[in-house]
């Protein structure tokens, strides 16, 4: 199965890219945290990192499916003073 990985803001800069496409054997059970490990090569999600699956906030334990878009980003700082 295929999973689209996306990084944003300071995390995108640190990873040196906007994302990647991850391909894994169909039989495997894949969580958001496992997607992070395989995509980044880092064992743990950096503290405070937020995750989304298909543009919905998701916990690291959340299971992903074929075709899902998984995004990782730092705490948000929108709005104004």
């Amino acid at each position: 199965m295929r999973v689209q990985v996306r990084y944003f803001a300071s995390l995108r800069e640190r990873m040196g890219r906007e994302g990647l496409r991850l391909e894994v054997p169909e039989a495997e059970r894949l969580t958001v945290a496992e997607v992070w490990r395989r995509a980044s090569g880092e064992p743990e999600l950096p503290p405070g990192t937020l995750c989304a699956v298909n543009m919905e906030y998701a916990a690291p334990e959340r299971e992903v499916r074929d075709g899902d878009e998984v995004a990782f980003f730092p705490p948000v700082t929108g709005g104004a003073p």
Binding site: M55, A71, P75, V76, T77, G78, G79
Partner: protein, 154 residues
């Protein structure tokens, strides 16, 4: 219940936007007489350092969705009628409007609470990230200012 959200890369005039929404409301003006509005503009200083400009990154699709969801949740929770949320993205200069949240309701308490709740969601849930260009270099803004505070002398 009506929610309208918009992202814009171009500068926008928040008061013209509210006036336009008000005109479009027509007869609803006499039914929902209370409007609470918040506008945040870019400041020229942050933590004492001059800020020359700012880049607002977003997650196209998810950003709009979270804005709309926050506005709907606040209208339902407070029983308010209508919300307009506009957020700037891309390059912004000091003094330009960053965000507009406008809520219309039958009573002032509902309008105030819903407006404030939407603003807090924009600060804490909506995927938007600020990168400041300052005299001392570029940096990502990593902390939010507090949404509640005590009065002077408390």
């Amino acid at each position: 219940m009506s929610v309208r959200v918009r992202l814009t890369e171009a500068p926008f005039d928040p008061w013209a936007e509210v006036a336009e929404a008000e005109r479009a409301r027509g007869a609803a003006r006499a039914a929902h007489g209370a409007a609470a509005v918040f506008v945040g503009a870019m400041r020229d200083r942050n933590e004492g350092v001059a800020v020359e400009s700012m880049f607002l990154e977003h997650y196209p699709g998810m950003t709009e969705r979270e804005m709309a969801r926050a506005a709907e949740a606040a209208l339902v929770r407070w029983g308010a009628a209508e919300a307009v949320v506009v957020h700037r993205v891309g390059e912004v200069r000091p003094g330009e409007a960053l965000v507009l949240v406008a809520v219309w309701s039958g009573h002032r308490a509902q309008a105030f609470e819903a407006c404030r709740e939407i603003m807090e969601a924009v600060k804490h849930r909506v995927p938007l990230w600020k990168r400041e260009r300052r005299a001392d270099g570029e940096r990502w803004v990593e902390r939010n200012t507090p949404g509640r505070m005590d009065p002077a002398g408390a």
